[in-house]
């Protein structure tokens, strides 16, 4: 599979338990919320350990790929206000509504503003990937007249994206809530 873009790569190859976890914790402390780390490990126990660690620390475990003996774990640092952030964009559709819209109109644009690693493991087929942080520089990839449904994991980042797109003159942008965290429709991913 192609390389997944991350903010930091941490080499834990050859290290035994509990070193991969300890090093991951230390590296994660240096990251900004929303950033993604790739932890490379050869310790087979790290697969279960990293998942348990993410669950207990509240960070988001995205997935793991395997290349030979090396396990690559992808984790996104959570931010404390991610779930609490005040939502302001007035046009909102639910997951179910988006599902129906997609079923009836294949031309609907779904814009996924999560990080590339999140998109890589689990996405709506056909969704366009532009991470929130890249939206400004890649604006010309979108059409101001299109119906655009913006999605992220919980509706917070996509809300910011919607507000900003509306300011840039996009007329028909809608925020999808809650987003991929509870998406029950078809998905695809690099596994």
């Amino acid at each position: 599979m192609p390389d997944i873009k991350v903010n930091q790569t941490l080499d834990c190859k050859g290290l035994a338990c509990p070193m991969p976890i300890v090093k991951t914790k230390k590296a994660m402390d240096q990251l900004q919320p929303g950033q993604v780390i790739e932890v490379q490990a050869t310790d087979k126990g790290s697969l279960a350990d990293i998942q348990g660690w993410a669950k207990n620390t509240g960070h988001q475990y995205l997935g793991t790929t395997e290349e030979g003996d090396v396990l690559k774990h992808f984790i996104r640092k959570s931010s404390p206000n991610e779930v609490k952030e005040e939502k302001k964009h007035p046009h909102v559709v639910s997951n179910e509504e988006l599902h129906q819209i997609m079923a009836s109109n294949s031309k609907t644009t779904v814009l996924d503003v999560r990080e590339p690693a999140e998109y890589a493991f689990n996405r709506i087929p056909g969704a366009i990937s532009i991470p929130l942080g890249d939206l400004e520089s890649r604006l010309d990839e979108l059409n101001r007249e299109d119906d655009i449904h913006v999605i992220c994991r919980t509706g917070a980042r996509s809300d910011l994206a919607c507000q900003w797109l509306a300011e840039q003159g996009f007329k028909k942008v809608k925020n999808v809530e809650p987003g991929m965290s509870e998406w029950t429709g078809t998905t695809e991913g690099n596994h």
């Binding site: 509990p18 976890i21 300890v22 991951t24 914790k25 660690w53 207990n56 620390t57």
Partner: protein, 131 residues
């Protein structure tokens, strides 16, 4: 509130040290609050000299090579990591008195206390372990 992990270390072999410090560092790295009470032979695990050369169980000496091959970190390294991660190390005053040891015989950054010092921490711990 974060998870609290209370550990009693009462044995002084190399295997005992790994059980204690692996669980302690893994817990602390998972943002748990961790305290270890070292008592009786467990004091070896934090003794300045002794913790560098902890004995393997009789008959298991050949396993030393296994530790090396699997690239397992040394006990001094694990102890240092535990301290960096904020693991609280408490040496048992009573055992120290019996063995005629002082705080200076142990690694830096430890506390010395009695049973109640540990109990005060352990009374509302989510996980309590004895090694």
């Amino acid at each position: 509130m974060s998870t609290k992990v209370a550990i009693i270390a009462s044995n002084g072999g190399l295997f005992d040290a790994y059980k204690v410090f692996n669980i302690a560092t893994a817990s602390a790295a998972t943002e748990a609050e961790v305290a270890i009470f070292f008592t009786f032979e467990g004091l070896n695990l934090i003794h300045k000299q002794a913790h560098h050369q902890l004995p393997l169980p009789a008959g298991a000496e050949h396993i030393a090579e296994g530790f090396k091959n699997a690239n397992i970190p040394g006990i001094p390294q694990l102890v240092q990591m535990a301290q960096e991660l904020g693991v609280k190390i408490i040496a048992c005053q009573m055992t120290m008195d019996v063995m005629n040891l002082t705080k200076e015989d142990f690694i830096d950054g430890i506390e010395v206390g009695g049973a109640v010092t540990f109990l005060d921490f352990a009374k509302d711990a989510n996980v309590t372990l004895t090694f």
